[in-house]
């Protein structure tokens, strides 16, 4: 729900316009004058009220606006009471006093918003001001100053008005071009000052013909109303807070270009107007003004070019830095790749060189254990040699696993796929493990009937199965059961179930990680490197399959491998 309380600015503007309409509707006289004075005083009061209500971070500028407009209102009252008093009068004191207050307020707002740091903005304001000075001089000041029919005091006071307008315009221009914000309050304020200046100029061009109630009054009255509206609008708070946008980029807006263009063309326009009106041109004023404006515009352009150059060189620097970083990264990457390759080569070489002496160790141990009937080996020594044989087997398996992992990581895992029967490979792997299972009194059940054709590398699939079965044998206590199941509906499904020590559901996620060992495995000192399941998973993965581990109710584990069926 919106009530009039939510829209004080709209309400104020509407009331102001109605009052202005009434002002022009009533006949000239005291009633009209009182209405005019009321609007002026009301404006000053509303500016103060708006400031109190909106609580901007800087109040001083707005209080200066209130006092400045109050000065104008007081001057209006005096002017009306005295009825067109001769110049200079007390009214002039208040009128002329109002301008500096307003300009000071504008400058304070400009500084609060950080506008003074923007040399470019101030430069633009200066250029516009000089263009305006030229117009003021040619059309108003020159006539006043050179009118010798007036007294010195009257001439001085009369000339002060156009000068004040220049000061006010300078303040407005600086305020206008520096503003990074375009809030309603800002626009109302600019419109207010613009109406004030227009009315002043109209008055300045023909002051002798002015009477209270002329259309010029509309400009001053609108200025009052708009100024009050600017103070009442809540966005006035933003005007006194520092600009949110830093001057990081180069932006020359259309409005600014139009202003500069106008200033640059002012001398030519003046020359043309004077020529058309048949008045002798004021050569010195024109020369000075056009010189100053041209110099300022050129300086401004130089400033823009310099800023562009700065931005470009910053960009060049940033780009050079980025390229440098890129080169460093590439070099580092190459070194890393090289180091990785060397590591792989090293592992492969070591593994190969370990296999050769292992061949001798295992071969000779077997030869020594192999009874040829000539010499009976005493039982104790036989036991020792059997330990050597078992340890050599484990060592060989470790070397093979490391070699496999090294190959896997350097992407050199070549598969030689062929069509094979998963059931047959499973039976073969189970037979291979039967001796080890028997040694632990484990029951090894193979449930694999019919043919389950897969397109796979026979050696690798055997290795995968062997790793799973060896794992089950290793982790199943004596007297347990290991079951190998193969199914072939939909996809090839292979399961190795055991009644071993198992693992937790959380560990099930991690058992395929390289070098991962479950807490129970470490606790019970089951030997192993944590490579077997990692390799099994890698092989399943390389064949486009997947592997998963599931804890079994009541202890034990199920390892499930799914492979695509051969087409």
């Amino acid at each position: 729900m919106t009530s009039w309380r939510d829209k004080p600015t709209e309400l104020l503007l509407a009331a102001g316009l109605v009052l202005i309409g009434v002002y022009f509707a009533v006949p000239r006289g005291n009633a009209q004058s009182v209405l005019y004075d009321l609007i002026g005083v009301g404006s000053a009061v509303l500016i103060a009220a708006g400031t109190t209500r909106n609580r901007p971070s800087r109040r001083t500028p707005w209080l200066l606006f209130a006092v400045g407009n109050l000065f104008f209102a007081v001057a209006d009252i005096i002017f009306n009471v005295l009825v067109n008093p001769p110049v200079p009068s007390v009214a002039d004191f208040f009128y002329l006093g109002g301008y500096p207050l307003l300009v000071l307020g504008l400058l304070l707002l400009l500084f609060a918003a950080g506008g003074h740091r923007r040399v470019a903005a101030l430069g633009d304001a200066t250029i516009v001001t000089f263009g305006f000075i030229l117009l003021q001089w040619v059309f108003i000041l020159d006539r006043i100053v050179s009118d010798h029919s007036l007294g010195v005091g009257e001439r001085a006071v009369s000339a002060a008005y156009p000068l004040m307008d220049i000061v006010l315009l300078a303040g407005l221009a600086g305020f206008f071009v520096s503003a990074a914000w375009r809030t309603p309050s800002f626009l109302l304020l600019v419109a207010s000052i613009a109406f004030l200046l227009i009315a002043d100029e109209a008055y300045g061009v023909g002051p002798n013909s002015y009477r209270s109630g002329d259309l010029i009054d509309a400009g001053w009255l609108l200025s009052y109303v708009l100024w009050a509206a600017a103070a009442v609008h809540p966005s006035m708070r933003d005007l006194s807070s520092p600009a949110r946008r830093e001057y990081g980029r180069l932006s020359v807006g259309g409005g600014r270009i139009a202003m500069l263009m106008g200033a640059l063309l002012a001398p030519a326009a003046v020359l043309l107007i004077q020529h058309l009106r048949g008045i002798a041109p004021l050569i010195p004023a024109l020369v000075i003004a056009s010189t100053v404006i041209s110099v300022l515009v050129v300086l401004r352009l130089v400033g823009i070019l310099r800023a562009l150059e700065r931005i470009r060189s910053r960009e060049r620097g940033a780009r050079a830095d980025a390229e440098q970083a890129q080169r460093l990264l590439e070099a580092q990457n190459l070194r890393l790749l090289e180091a990785d390759r060397m590591k792989d080569e090293f592992v492969a070489l070591i593994s190969h060189d370990l296999r050769t002496p292992l061949t001798s160790i295992m071969g000779y141990v077997e030869l020594a254990l192999d009874d040829d009937g000539e010499s009976e080996l005493d039982p104790e020594r036989r036991t020792y040699l059997e330990v050597v044989a078992r340890s050599s087997q484990r060592l060989l398996r470790l070397v093979d696993d490391l070699l496999f992992v090294a190959r896997l990581q350097s992407g050199r895992l070549d598969l030689t796929p062929s069509r094979l029967d998963l059931n047959e490979v499973a039976r073969q792997a189970a037979e291979e493990a039967r001796g080890r299972a028997d040694a632990k009194d484990l029951e090894l059940v193979v449930d694999a009937n019919g043919a389950v054709p897969v397109e796979a590398d026979r050696g690798r699939v055997f290795q995968l199965l062997d790793n799973l079965i060896s794992n089950a044998v290793k982790f199943t206590p004596d007297g347990g059961t290991i079951e190998i199941r193969v199914r072939g509906n939909g996809g090839a499904l292979l399961e190795v179930c055991d009644t071993g020590i198992g693992f937790t559901a959380a560990e099930a996620e991690r058992v395929f990680e390289r070098f991962y060992r479950t807490d129970r495995a470490v606790e019970r000192q089951v030997p192993g490197t944590g490579l077997g399941l990692f390799i099994a998973a890698a092989i399943a993965d390389a064949h486009g399959g997947r592997i998963s581990a599931h804890p079994r109710e009541g202890g034990g584990a199920v390892f499930r491998v799914e492979l695509p069926l051969a087409t």
């Binding site: 190969h352 296999r355 050769t356 292992l358 061949t359 001798s360 295992m362 071969g363 000779y364 077997e366 030869l367 192999d370 040829d372 060989l396 093979d400 070549d414 030689t416 590398d457 050696g459």
Partner: protein, 124 residues
Amino acid sequence: MSKVVLVADDDDDILLLVTTRLQRDGYEVVSARDGISALALAREHKPRVAVLDVGMPGLDGLEVLTAIRAAEELHDTRVLLLTAKAQESDVRRGFESGADAYVKKPFSPAELAARVRELYEGAR
């Protein structure tokens, strides 16, 4: 037909291991430590079975195998390759060059002896 089995390996220990194991089975074994002498011994003794290590200096096992296959007088010799490399591609290359059997290192001497017996008895 000769009763000789040729064994070639550049590693003395492996050479002795294979030689000892085969002698136990009653074969007459001639041994060489490099490919060139292996080929010379093959020409001299015309062995029924040759056990060749793939990785040897001079002529490697595959080159000796190729030379044996090229020699008319050795067309009855069966060749078994021994290798430390477990790569499928090496196995394929071995068979393409005309090998009759393949044993990977490390091997069980009993298993090797069994393979040699198969070749020996299967040889014409």
